[in-house]
Amino acid sequence: MTTVRVQGATKSFGRTRALDSVDLEAGPGVTGLLGPNGAGKTTLLRTIATVLAPDRGTVTLLGRDPSRPDDRTRIRERLGYLPQEAGFHRGFTVFEFIDYVAILKKMTDRRPRHDEVRRVIALTGLVPVSAKRIRALSGGMRRRVGLAQAMLGDPDLLVLDEPTVGLDPEQRLRFREMISQAGEGRTVVMSSHQTEDITALCTRIAVIHEGRARFAGTPTELTGQAAGRVWTDTQRSPAALAAWRTGDGTYRNVGDPPAGAELIPPTLEDAYLLLVGEPELEVTHS
């Protein structure tokens, strides 16, 4: 079952083409978007979250067309969204803010609404700070408030833009658990710079680069693309696209290996580096 279908989506801001004929499909499970800064991930997620309409191409969400106002409202009834830069009414307490969003999500009956607010507060580990004003919270805690509001009402489609930014390692593990649970039977589309998060959570990955979808498939398929292109050496290899010294003193090289190189199994990060092949990465072996 396809929950999100983006076909040939193109979006420009002035002369900058943020999306260039992007195709993406996502169904139940967690779909991750990987890509460097400015690649178009956020624009794509904002399109999926009904914030932006593409200049060209079609978007179908939960079987509906978000360009129609009625459909858009129906989609939003089943959508949870955490933007990259989530702002809050800082004078509200955590409970008040999430309750406010719950009202906007048309949860009108007070008692069940408050029960739902308490549920997402507990889910995101915000119980100790639920009576605190948002202005008094750390960045990581605010991120969790953003996550909590997105998860209100158990949405069928959850769109999360860089949800792990600002979270400490323990919070990230907790977040993974939460998203993994949310992805059981529902569709989660998230972007992240953290390839570990993507590896741990995603059933499908799309790599976006310069506004185009450069890869779409499973993490195993992406990792497989780097097979035979990662090797260790006692020194930085001139043939490597990227190379770095590891904890045991050897160099991990990614690129086209020289003959006789000691190949090792690639990771998702290796495959990602090879795919986007940024020129600045080559600086590492100059």
Binding site: T73, E77, H89, I103, L104, K105, K106
Partner: protein, 269 residues
């Protein structure tokens, strides 16, 4: 499971059920806004430093309530309501809140009503307090307000709040509300300048002299209707601000504006 409670009532009832808690939240946000808390501070300070040459009699409190509600409070209310209405934009929360099934139009309805209703209630309480003071003490006839003049108080307060919301919607940048304030003030000065009383900036029309000036002689009840029309104009303009709503803005706004202008003309002597 979706976010929405399953509606069992008709669409109109469902809209009301949805808007009511939202109106309550917006009213609470306004009531808690620090700028609004300055009103009692100003009242306390001004009454404390006021010499009250005739003593703090019933007449003194009668006049004090009137001046506070009709003159000081609207200025603070304008800025407080604007800060509340522009809070989502200033806090960069708009994107998150926009992606909810509550449309921008409905959120603005809730905001406008959440601002206007409690302010109108406060104005009504003030008018009631003045009537009560008059009932138990004889206020000198020169100071006494007619029912039509007292009835203006709720609309003056609500109107100031709605002007703040309007500024947040149409002038969504830092300083927008200051531009609105200056425009409203200059507009008042220009209008009042047409009368014998000379240039005198006041928010209300009354037969009663204030500081030896009677700004506008006119028909108080028609002025009440005119103020109500201005409130309606501000609400309609704020609610239908979005470009997609401009046909509706024209459809609803033009008759409301026309009626308000007619009332404005009729109130004049």
């Amino acid at each position: 499971m979706t976010a929405v409670d399953s509606p069992t009532a008709g669409p109109r009832t469902a809209v009301l059920r949805h808007l009511t808690p939202l109106i309550g939240r917006e009213a609470r946000r306004l009531a808690r806004h620090p700028v609004l808390w300055l009103v009692p501070v100003v009242v306390i300070v001004t009454t404390a430093v006021d010499g009250a040459s005739g003593g703090r009699t019933a007449g003194y409190w009668y006049g004090t309530i009137f001046v506070d509600v009709a003159f000081f409070a609207p200025m603070f209310v304008l800025f407080a309501a604007n800060l509340v209405a522009s809070g989502a934009r200033r806090n960069r929360a708009e994107e998150m809140l926009n992606v909810t099934p509550t449309t921008d139009t409905r959120r603005t309805w809730a905001m406008s009503l959440g601002v206007a209703l409690p302010l109108a209630g406060t104005g009504a309480v003030a008018a009631g307090a003045m009537a009560l003071i008059d009932g138990v003490n004889d206020i000198p006839p020169n100071d006494l307000q007619t029912a039509g003049e007292l009835a203006q108080l709720p609309f003056i307060l609500a109107g100031a709040g709605l002007l703040g919301v309007l500024a947040a919607r149409w002038l969504p940048f830092a300083g927008g509300v200051v531009i609105m304030f200056i425009a409203a003030t200059l507009g008042g000065v220009v209008v009042f300048g047409r009368f014998d009383a000379g240039i005198w900036w006041m928010w209300w029309s009354t037969e009663t002299a204030f500081e030896n000036r009677a700004p506008v002689p006119g028909e108080p009840w028609l002025h009440v209707a005119y103020l109500a029309g201005l409130c309606a104009c501000a609400t309609v303009a704020a609610v239908y601000r979005d470009r997609t709503q401009w046909p509706r803005l024209a459809l609803v706004g033009v008759p409301v504006l026309a009626a308000t202008l007619v009332l404005g003309w009729l109130q004049l002597p």
